[in-house]
């Protein structure tokens, strides 16, 4: 494997390019029009345009990406996550083009990509699943029929996209009257995100934790699961903070849940990297939720607690190497790691996206800090894609140490020109329940709800006095420097509109 094309953009493309460099393999980027000067394009050895800004015109265009594979002479393709990562046609197209798809087989993607088929695999592997429907509910199934099925599953329930992931096409429904609009929204989002509007129903476990198990599987049948990840801190079903290990998982439970994960992977004939997601109920029982047949956004925390480079192992497995890791060591965390997903969103206006030019950027450094970013100072955050600009990971000997370090790293993080979710993470880190690891998947939405739109990070009086001093200095010195022009040019109209608009 001499040259790898990365069929993705943003931080994950950069992450994979770094893995290529770290293995002295050449890297090839693809890009849409607005991504011409994106970081992944600048960092790759080669780069090819694949079309217009909407994903359907570029990053989802299998034909154009295969064309870039041919032009570059790449002998392998890494799909990252999102876009074509869980698309079996793409994996098959790579196979047909004679290049290695760095991921599972198209068959495994098809099998586990259908959330309903995946449930069957788990049941066969002897792993408990959340009660729900076993068959997909496509557009042909009427609202009335779904209502009838929902009655059997019982309320509250979850509506989920069969092809789903990342919280898209997912809705909670607490009573029958909400079902119709939730069904429409979920189908519409699922269709636009995955090109498949089918959904299924699952009983809602009331206050579960979201626990997931990363695993690697080689072509000789070795499956190695890793220390679990705790992903209960979600906003509208999207993970925003992850950590490893989970404070809710004892070594004994770790044994059981990682064994269950490995059984599901073996049952599926799975190869390469994948993640099994579980719901952990308050009583300690756990249920198979779904499998992600790809690299996960939050993979770095596992890398930090085990010392393993998962992306390099994906590549090594894809080129036929056998897993030589010590399975026992992969279940013993070396440290505690936390990740915050930094989004270009304004937490003070209901997390509205905040695209635009990144006028200034200073990134934290030093011991126990890793920043996996897809941007640079001067880059433009486009409106067409996921608004995550960076993943900030910290680790330390224990959880309080890792959290203190995250607080420090967030204080060092400076982003000018766009709004980010950094103040939101500062607020979470001060929360007593969070610090005590007392939470479930409803935690953030409940806590945010309780704020009633109050701005985050309200300052104490001392802070306000110092801020007043800063204003005095600005008035006296006429701003920091010749910044007027820069400011005028880069504060985009929409930000202005957002702050004056009806959302406030």
């Amino acid at each position: 494997m001499k040259k790898i094309l990365i069929a993705n953009r943003g931080e994950i493309a950069v992450r994979i390019i770094r893995a290529c460099r770290d293995m002295e393999v050449r890297s090839v980027a693809v890009y849409s029009d607005c991504d011409r000067a994106a970081l992944h394009v600048r960092m790759a050895d080669e780069a090819y345009a694949v079309g217009g800004n909407p994903p359907r015109e570029s990053y989802l265009r299998i034909d154009r990406i295969i064309d870039a594979v041919r032009r570059s002479g790449a002998d392998a393709v890494h799909p990252g996550y999102g876009f074509l990562a869980e698309n079996e046609e793409f994996a098959a197209a790579c196979r047909d083009a004679g290049v290695t798809f760095i991921g599972p087989s198209p068959e495994a993607i098809t099998l586990m990509g259908s959330k309903t088929a995946a449930r069957q695999v788990a049941i066969k592997a002897g792993v408990p699943v959340v009660p729900g429907t076993e068959d997909p509910l496509g557009d042909e199934v009427s609202e009335a029929d779904v209502l009838a099925i929902a009655k059997r599953v019982g309320y509250p329930l979850m509506l989920k996209a069969v092809a789903g992931g990342g919280g898209k096409g997912m809705r909670m429904v607490t009573e029958p009257s909400e079902l119709a609009s939730a069904l429409r929204a979920a189908r519409s989002e699922a269709s636009s995100a995955f090109g498949d509007s089918a959904v299924y129903l699952e009983r809602r476990i009331l206050t579960p934790r979201h626990i997931e198990v990363q695993l690697l599987a080689d072509h000789d049948g070795t499956v190695i699961p890793f220390v679990e990840r705790e992903c209960s801190i979600q906003r509208r079903h999207q993970k925003v903070v992850e950590e490893s290990p989970s404070m809710a998982v004892s070594p004994e439970l770790r044994q059981r849940i990682t064994s269950a994960a490995a059984s599901v992977a073996r049952q599926a004939g799975y190869t390469n990297a994948g993640t099994i997601e579980f719901l952990l109920d308050a009583d300690g029982s756990f249920y198979f939720l779904e499998m992600n047949t790809r690299l996960q956004v939050e993979h770095p925390i596992t890398e930090q607690v085990t010392g393993v480079d998962l992306v390099q192992w994906q590549i090594r497995i894809a080129r036929g190497e056998r897993l030589t890791l010590d399975p026992a060591a992969m279940l013993v965390p070396r440290c505690h790691a936390v990740e915050c997903r930094i989004y270009a969103e304004d937490p003070d206006t209901g997390f509205m996206p905040s695209p635009g030019p990144l006028r200034g950027l200073r990134v934290p450094h030093g011991p126990g800090v890793r920043d996996d970013s897809g941007v640079y100072e001067g880059a433009e955050v486009p409106i067409y894609y996921d608004p995550m600009i960076s993943k900030l990971i910290t680790w330390a000997e224990d959880r309080p140490g890792a959290l203190a370090r995250m607080k420090r790293a967030l204080a060092e993080y400076e982003v000018r020109g766009i709004r980010t979710t950094i103040p939101f993470f500062r607020w979470i880190l001060e929360d007593e329940d969070f610090r005590a690891a007392r939470f479930d998947t409803t935690f953030i939405d409940r806590k945010l709800g309780a704020r009633n739109g109050e701005p985050l990070g309200a300052p104490d009086d001392e802070h306000a006095v110092v801020a007043a001093v800063a204003v005095a200095l600005r008035q006296a010195t006429g701003s920091a420097a010749p910044a007027e022009a820069a400011r005028a040019e880069s504060t985009s109209r929409w930000q202005q509109a957002a702050r004056q608009g009806a959302l406030r």
Partner: protein, 171 residues
């Protein structure tokens, strides 16, 4: 130079005077001696000496919000809004009135209208959904700020809109 500043929930009287290489700044009855250096185009490194001789170090940037008299003041990475008041303590007029009058619901970002949930003449409740716009792969629901009646609907499903485009007017 002196002015009134609304910040942290209170109006404060601020006075600033140059003293050789430093500035003397008074905020109400507290007096500070400040040493300021520009470290990039937008950021000042401030050393703020208190009455007791202790010297705090903070990085600060002050950004006016366009079309408004509000300043976003960022101190040690935390941002808070401040409003410069006129000499007579009055607040200058804002670009958009927020408490009364018709609500103009504007597109907060470029995107695609995926759903229009109201029609002219509908009466709406506070926080009722009006239009859903998709941007950055997320659907964002724009809601009514107050109760009222829909006067105009300019948004159409499937339409691409620019930032600031007028979508709905609620009276």
């Amino acid at each position: 130079m002196h002015f009134d500043l609304e910040i942290g929930g209170r109006v404060r009287r601020v006075r600033v005077e140059r003293q050789d290489a430093h500035y003397q700044v008074a905020v109400d009855d507290r007096v500070f001696l400040v040493d300021s250096r520009a470290v990039n185009r937008e950021t000042l490194s401030l050393l703020v000496q208190d009455g007791d001789g202790s010297v705090r170090s903070v990085d600060a940037s002050v950004q006016p919000r366009p079309g408004s008299s509000t300043l976003d003041v960022s101190v040690s990475g935390q941002t808070l809004p401040a409003t410069l008041l006129t000499r007579f303590g009055a607040r200058p007029a804002e670009g958009v009135a927020s408490g009364s009058g018709p609500q103009q619901v504007l597109a907060p970002m470029p995107g695609k209208v995926v759903r229009v949930m109201v029609a002219p003449g509908d009466s709406v409740e506070p926080r009722q959904g009006l239009v859903v716009i998709e941007a950055m792969k997320m659907e964002n629901e724009l809601r009514a700020a107050r109760a009222g009646r829909v006067k105009t609907v300019r948004a159409a499903e499937g339409q691409s809109v620019e930032a600031g485009a007028l979508l709905v007017i609620v009276e």
